[in-house]
């Protein structure tokens, strides 16, 4: 509380909320003037500082209150701070009044303000050297975090849309083969050949159909047995594919002969003689039989089993 400066009927009073503050803390310095309503006082204006070291952060406008006694009470508040430690004397607040015969001045008293440092040293550790205190951490505000959250959401959405709608390299489509018979392939083929023979196509002049069906059965057998797409291959391609299977020369020779005869009949309207028509059927059966046996032998070698001689005997009739 500051002292009251009084002269006749004008009273100036100053007070400070807290006489001790830490460096940088705020406190309020209040000036109260009590005066008769019929006189006009000249009130000083402070802008930045009250005195050296005491800085004004903000100040209110003068608040005027009329009392029942006819006096006026003026009140002004300053929010102040200081950034150096020590004791400060805030000088008296003074008012001037022009009487017509001269000037009259009215003063408040000094106000003392103590500005303290933050005491970080424990009382019992005067000789201890402490590390420099690191910068304090301030929590993030929503305004700081929100743009990043929105950015992550945007990238996620765009990535998802790109993934969903951009054309991608197609995965290798699985090649669909013909249906596999439930019984062993060689049995199935022999049955198909029997059916073809019973149709008596070449005997009825349908030589082209006979060779087409015969090679169709043969191609199907090769496709299932060797997993070669024989149905979509030309004769030369089939032979190339079979060479890669490392078949016996005899088998390759039989197959080449079969396919060539069939091509001649299918594409060149060539009319083979009876002997050839009969021999191609026998050759096809022989080819299936031999390749079946070879396949079984290979399988047995791979699995380490003995080749069953009974199983090996397959009738081509």
């Amino acid at each position: 509380m500051g002292l009251i400066a009084q002269a006749q009927d004008v009273v100036v009073k100053t007070e400070i909320d807290s006489s001790e503050i830490y460096i940088g803390d705020h406190t309020e310095y209040t000036v109260t003037i009590k005066q008769p309503s019929d006189i006009s006082l000249k009130i000083p204006e402070y802008k930045d500082t009250l005195t050296g070291g005491i800085e004004i952060i903000s100040q209110t406008v003068i608040d005027t209150l009329s009392e029942e006694s006819g006096e006026l009470v003026l009140k002004k508040k300053y929010t102040v701070t200081a950034f150096d430690s020590g004791y400060y004397h805030i000088p008296p607040y003074y008012l001037e009044y022009e009487t017509g015969q001269g000037k009259k001045r009215y003063y408040s008293d000094y106000v003392l303000l103590k500005v303290k440092r933050v005491d970080i040293t424990p009382p019992d550790s005067t000789d201890v050297i402490f590390d420099i205190i690191g910068p304090g951490k301030i929590g993030y505000s929503v305004g700081e975090i929100l743009p990043w959250v929105l950015l992550v959401m945007f990238i996620t959405i765009v990535s998802w849309l790109l993934y969903k709608y951009l054309p991608r390299r197609r995965k290798k489509e699985e090649v669909e083969g013909p249906p596999i018979p439930s019984e062993p392939i060689h049995i199935f083929i022999f049955r198909e050949l029997d059916k073809l023979e019973k149709k008596k196509l070449w005997q009825n002049g349908k030589i082209k159909e006979y060779y087409s069906e015969l090679t169709g059965i043969l191609r199907y057998y090769i496709e299932i047995r060797y997993s070669i797409r024989a149905l979509e291959m030309t004769s030369e391609e089939i032979l190339e594919g079979m060479l890669k299977e490392q078949l016996d020369d005899e088998l390759i020779k039989i197959l080449r002969n079969l396919l060539q005869n069939a091509d001649l009949s299918k594409f060149a309207k060539y009319k083979h003689d009876t002997e050839t028509n009969e021999s191609v059927m026998a050759d096809t059966r022989h080819f299936v039989k031999l390749t079946y046996q070879e396949f079984e032998t290979r399988e047995a070698v791979n699995t380490g089993d003995e080749v069953n001689s009974d199983k090996k005997e397959v009738s081509d009739e």
Binding site: R229, L231, E232, T234, K266, F267, K269, Y270
Partner: protein
């Protein structure tokens, strides 16, 4: 289709007529190392009256190949380098005023030859390309009021460089379709290139001899048309072409979004003709599926339009043809 054709007789005839093919291959092989596909394509073009669009980087012996073929046949060869400032008259010819005769004389252009190498055809604007393509189609050229028939055989081999596309005038699909074959040639194999390098370093170039007459070629062209093509092969060709138009009907639904337009009827005709010619080159009187397979890429690759989706996935027309060929059942 003549159902009474005697295949034995036809085979003998074709064997006799195609005897020169080996001689041509041997002579061309003296100068051109490797490039078997290029030589085969040239022979197909020559024997079917078709024209060839050739794509390959510079330096793959394109000019040398056609020049050698012209020498082997003893035919006239001209090479035209297409440039942006070339004019139709530079190709076809023009009328020149002769002060001595006090009259206009016809100055025939380089298209008046048996073999034309139109080098980098896409470097010239559309009007020049059209002039060439019209001459290819009509086999005649009109200068002033006079129309001149072009000599037989007339083979145009146009080249396109797959690189450096800036400042070029790509041929429109309708005009590309007029080329019977589009052949893509690649670099030679390492052993072939070694041989080429040796020949050039030693400077010993073999001279080629004219082993075939133009009359023989014209007669062979007739023989090619006589090569027997069975209905099964015709059906196979049609299946291949129709699969480019309606892939969904051939269990190839996945191709539908990749194809913007399929091969035209000209594609079917050319595929049949080229397959016949390939059988002739192989000295056979009838066509087998191998012949179709051998030429299908060159005949169809420029006749299938691919969509942006296919481009985005780096799928080419050749990939589409491969897929079709692998799916369509061979007769």
């Amino acid at each position: 289709m003549d159902l009474n054709v005697d295949i034995k007789e036809l085979n003998e005839k074709i064997e006799k007529e195609s005897g020169f093919v080996e001689a041509i291959s041997l002579e061309v092989g003296k100068v051109i190392v490797g490039q078997k596909r290029l030589v085969e394509s040239m022979l197909i073009g020559l024997l079917t009256d078709g024209h060839i669009l050739l794509e390959g980087v510079p330096g793959l012996a394109k000019t040398l190949a056609i020049k050698t073929l012209a020498s082997v046949i003893d035919a006239k060869f001209n090479r035209v380098q297409f440039t942006p400032d070339l004019l139709p008259a530079d190709l076809l010819g023009t009328m020149i005023y002769s002060q001595k005769r006090e009259d206009f004389l016809v100055k025939k252009g380089p298209l008046f030859a048996n073999f034309i190498l139109a080098d980098e055809i896409n470097r010239s604007p559309a009007k020049v390309q059209s002039a060439l393509l019209e001459a290819m189609q009509e086999r005649q050229i009109t200068i002033g009021e006079e129309t001149y028939k072009l000599d037989d055989p007339f083979l145009v081999m146009a080249t396109q460089n797959p690189i450096e596309q800036e400042g070029t005038y790509p041929l429109p699909e309708a005009q590309v379709d007029r080329f019977m074959l589009k052949t893509v040639i690649d670099y030679p194999k390492i052993n072939e290139e070694q041989l080429i390098m040796r020949q050039n370093l030693m400077g010993t170039y073999e001279t080629v001899n004219a082993v075939v007459s133009i009359d023989q070629i014209l007669s062979a062209q007739k023989a090619v048309r006589e090569v027997y093509m069975d209905e099964k092969i015709e059906k196979y060709i049609l299946d291949l072409v129709f699969a480019t138009r309606y892939p969904e009907k051939y269990n190839l639904e996945s191709l539908k979004p990749l194809i913007s337009f399929g091969a035209s009827p000209r594609g079917s005709i050319n595929l049949g003709t080229a397959a016949k010619c390939y059988a002739f080159i192989k000295r056979r009187g009838y066509v087998v599926p191998e012949d179709v397979r051998a030429v299908v890429h060159d005949v169809l690759r420029h006749r299938i339009g691919i969509t942006y989706e296919a481009e985005a996935e780096n799928i080419t027309s050749v990939d589409i043809i491969n897929k079709i060929v692998n799916e369509i059942e061979v007769p």
